[in-house]
Amino acid sequence: MHEEFTIPSKDFSVAGDASSKIKRILKQLNIPPQRIKQIIVAVFEAEVNVIAHSYGGKILCDIEEQRVLIDVIDTGPGIENLELAMTEGWSTASSEVREMGYGAGMGLPNIRKSCDDLKIYTKKGDHTHISMQFVL
């Protein structure tokens, strides 16, 4: 099963819409609730990252019998220092983003903890592509 969702930039009123839809699909497939929670936490963090930090992007969701693959691809501007971005508590979020309850610097660390395999392509001035795999 393949689903695609477009994620806008800076519009927090729709933050979580894509994750919510993916969660509903996973529930229908009778995946254990604890596993769904782990998957959705990572997807939601990534969705919020696209809204908060990027020029917009998309989430691709592929559900197979043994695994769920989530690709989050934005259109830039890329992460300057990925090592710092993976550090708990480190954040470049604006005050506007923090007022929304985000920007605690836990997004990428939470994503890393939740998924079985994580690949990140990013380059300053280019885009960011996060590829997450969850074994079912």
Partner: protein
């Protein structure tokens, strides 16, 4: 603790979710940082927060949290109430601060997550 006991303890008022009053709440988590909330994998939690916007509801949805308590008399907007109804999440508020509400509930025996 049941949700109704939690509300009695903090002079809380239920805005929506009467069907949750008998929910057995095992632990409390107090935070305004939604990424902190998203680290929780335990079930049957009440989220105590000063963040009165749609994001607290969205975060509760992602973390399978069924009960939210807003502090400092922060009344939820109609959009929040509509979202909570749609997702079957109870919404309440207390006049107390995050610190006082959490302290009262901890003293009454509500367990922390960490």
């Amino acid at each position: 603790m049941k949700l109704k006991e939690i509300l009695e303890c903090v002079d809380g008022k239920l805005v929506w979710g009467e069907s949750h009053l008998e929910d057995e709440v095992k632990r409390g988590f107090a935070s305004d940082l939604m990424s902190d909330v998203l680290t929780i994998l335990e079930d049957d939690i009440i989220l105590i927060t000063g963040l009165s916007n749609n994001q607290s509801i969205r975060t509760a949805e992602m973390s399978d949290i069924s009960n939210i308590l807003l502090v400092r008399n922060k009344r939820p907007s109609q959009t929040m109430v509509d979202m909570a109804k749609d997702l079957d999440i109870s919404l309440s508020y207390t006049p107390y601060s995050l610190f006082k509400a959490s302290g009262l509930l901890y003293a009454k025996g509500l367990k922390p997550v960490y």
